[in-house]
Symmetry: C2
Subunit: 496 residues, 2 copies
Amino acid sequence: MTAYEKLESRFRRHSIVQGAMAVLHWDSAVMMPLGGASARSDQLAELALVCHEILTAPDFQELLNAAEGEVEKLDEWQDTNLAEMRRRWLHANAVPAELVRRLSEASSACEIAWRDARAQDDFEAVRPHLELIVDLTRQSAQAKSEHLGCSPYEALLDEYDPGSRIADIEPLFNELAEFLESFIGEVVESQGRHPRPVTPRGRFSVEAQRRLGENLMRRLGFDFERGRLDTSHHPFTGGIPEDLRLTTRYDEDDFTSGLMAVLHETGHALYERGLPAKWRHQPVGSSRGMSMHESQSLIIEMQASRSDAFIRYLTPLLRDAFAGDGEEWQTDNLIRVYRQVSPSLIRVDADEVTYPMHVIMRFHLERALIAGDLTVADLPGAWREGMRRALGVEPGDDRDGCMQDIHWFSGGFGYFPTYTLGAIAAAQLFRAAQRAVPDVLSGLEIGDFRPLLSWLRENVHDLASRYTPQDILTRTTGRSFDIEVFKTHLRDRYLD
Amino acid sequence: MTAYEKLESRFRRHSIVQGAMAVLHWDSAVMMPLGGASARSDQLAELALVCHEILTAPDFQELLNAAEGEVEKLDEWQDTNLAEMRRRWLHANAVPAELVRRLSEASSACEIAWRDARAQDDFEAVRPHLELIVDLTRQSAQAKSEHLGCSPYEALLDEYDPGSRIADIEPLFNELAEFLESFIGEVVESQGRHPRPVTPRGRFSVEAQRRLGENLMRRLGFDFERGRLDTSHHPFTGGIPEDLRLTTRYDEDDFTSGLMAVLHETGHALYERGLPAKWRHQPVGSSRGMSMHESQSLIIEMQASRSDAFIRYLTPLLRDAFAGDGEEWQTDNLIRVYRQVSPSLIRVDADEVTYPMHVIMRFHLERALIAGDLTVADLPGAWREGMRRALGVEPGDDRDGCMQDIHWFSGGFGYFPTYTLGAIAAAQLFRAAQRAVPDVLSGLEIGDFRPLLSWLRENVHDLASRYTPQDILTRTTGRSFDIEVFKTHLRDRYLD
């Protein structure tokens, strides 16, 4: 075996163990009884260690050097694969094992403390935990930044979005925030001139919701021989490409959000399922970071499923599923329901228009925390101030303020920007798909996602990590990340 | 860390990864969509390799030698633990890695071929696969026998029942077969003099069966904060002591067998749950082989739950659960239903009296296969002949003959004896429990398993692998494995 082939076989092992972990994660959230939590966390820690040991084997660097000395023998995919291998090796080896261990322990402890502190609305109870996490994360980011040749915050971004840089994100976010500042008001005003949306009322059984969700998943191209739909506290897509485990949650008084969560997660799942089998288990064969991933869920949920075309198709299905009858079950009203814009406190409940403001504020706050410009003690105040400026609303407590998201309290910094980068990319990709394939919109009218899915397979899924997100967008749309299309989309959808 | 402590920490890792595998196994049987099978088998193979690598690390033998050189520093539990470590190391290292790999591949291939061959009743289709397995198993058993200092077949027994020897089993089985040869006829004759049992008829919803099963599990002391009950093709107990995953299967026309399966599996689960937390993850802390395990399921299912006392308690619960009404819902009839004896072809459907004959025949056949005294080609004929002599029935095809059990076709030789050793031990332990704790039987009258469970905890579960099964029995009953109590139990229960 060549050095490159040896590396491929190690990453294969790595990926297979990661796949086992993904199933165990899903089980934790969906099946596991409470008393199993501690043993499960031992299992996941042990398997994480197995993965870490694969990437920190003493001869790994030698193999990378040897393979990089023979790049002329590699094709383009292999070449990109090798570069991704180097990047993953850097992430695993840049940080001393002791720091990795301490950060992992601190994250587990903080997450537990956060659940209680949030329930009690007691930020002080979780503050010391979060301070320790910020401190250790800064050390880890510093160590990685030296090896990756970027700033500490960028080293954190890089874990979720390889190659992501502040210089790319900041101008986009500034421009978008400036646009939204006035746009949100215009939309709210415009919606005030129309009939108020009426959310359908009734008793919507879990069973009926689940059946409808599964039907729509099939329409979208989801293969139930290779996955399941279950219930969890927060919707997510877990498992592996051959066996995708989706979840949603059901509210028997309101089907609207659980159903959209199913469509959102199906977008994630179709991306994973569409990745090239040939490169399965190799870094180049995995999804291209969380921004692209979010673009795939949002192109299904926001771009396609909230389009007039699809909601027209959906209307009779909803009436059938829930024996709905009356004005509120008309397409016009359902469109208004699915497009209500209203500045609010909670990110996960936010609409398409105000959502980026939640993200942009978190982007600034987490950068400041990592840079040392903001202390954890000052976070609650900075949050309230940020929300007031961003959306003109201010949380009355920290539960609906800086304690609402799990990310930081479980050690996740640098993730938030991917939500909005994904939304921007989704708009660009959806327009490109419509231009390239005239059937995309007319397909949605009859619940046929195949034209859209074929285009996504060819232009996004098949490419896996062969290109950067910027290159994927440029190949298909002629531009890198660009908020113009997103702005146009918002204007077209939300203003008269 | 001392050498002994280093070994403890390696076995801890080994056990945690095994625990992860147990959850993945459960998921395969209960949750996984068909399309995930191949990826799952990659995951399990990879984790098996991780476990194998732990036990075959180059310095492992040195650590064992060093620890064995310092036994004076160890207490009795640690001493037994060290001996078990050596035994596990021997099993892992005695067989060349290449042979392990070939046997594992051959087993997977044979199991797949067996499913088809069984469905088609085509033994010839699976014959070459089974020949390869027997061949490789003989090589593996030969290699292990040299290191363990026993015969090749005993090396196979040793995997399921450490220290199990033919000289212990054969006299028991001979004596039991001789007893049953006439006893079965006597029972059948005796039952002919009584009213025929009438199996309750009706539509027994899965939901009602599940609810009753869960109620009885609670009565038995099962903690649903630390486990679940689900459905699978064959009932089993999976998971880990902190998170036990039980399964059964439901027949909506007949609740009797699914319900007993729940009680049987709960017996297994209570054993796992009762193992000493102090020795969790150490060899000495695990269950003492499959015979003791089966004794724990059978003491619940056969000894306790089919007693007059418990069936009296169960009768109104059954009537309530299934709205049962009429003669067939009387205790007397239900006792007869749960104690029907009838020589038949299929082991898993066999009653308590004829079951050992199925096992004893398999014990002789698999010994002959491993010794080279019986060829795979001659197996179908030997099976028919064996069944005719053992129970006076002869299968009309191989599907209900030598292809009925998965064991050999998935590479499992040496497992069958544990079923009957477990039944013998269960009878001995149940009598000892009744003598030591007068409340055992009167507890069952009111569905209170606590007196029995407390006794089992103290006399079996708490001891884990500290003693051999022979020693556990001798401590509690004054005798090692001894069929007299089992014979008495059968006579008392099945003859007038």
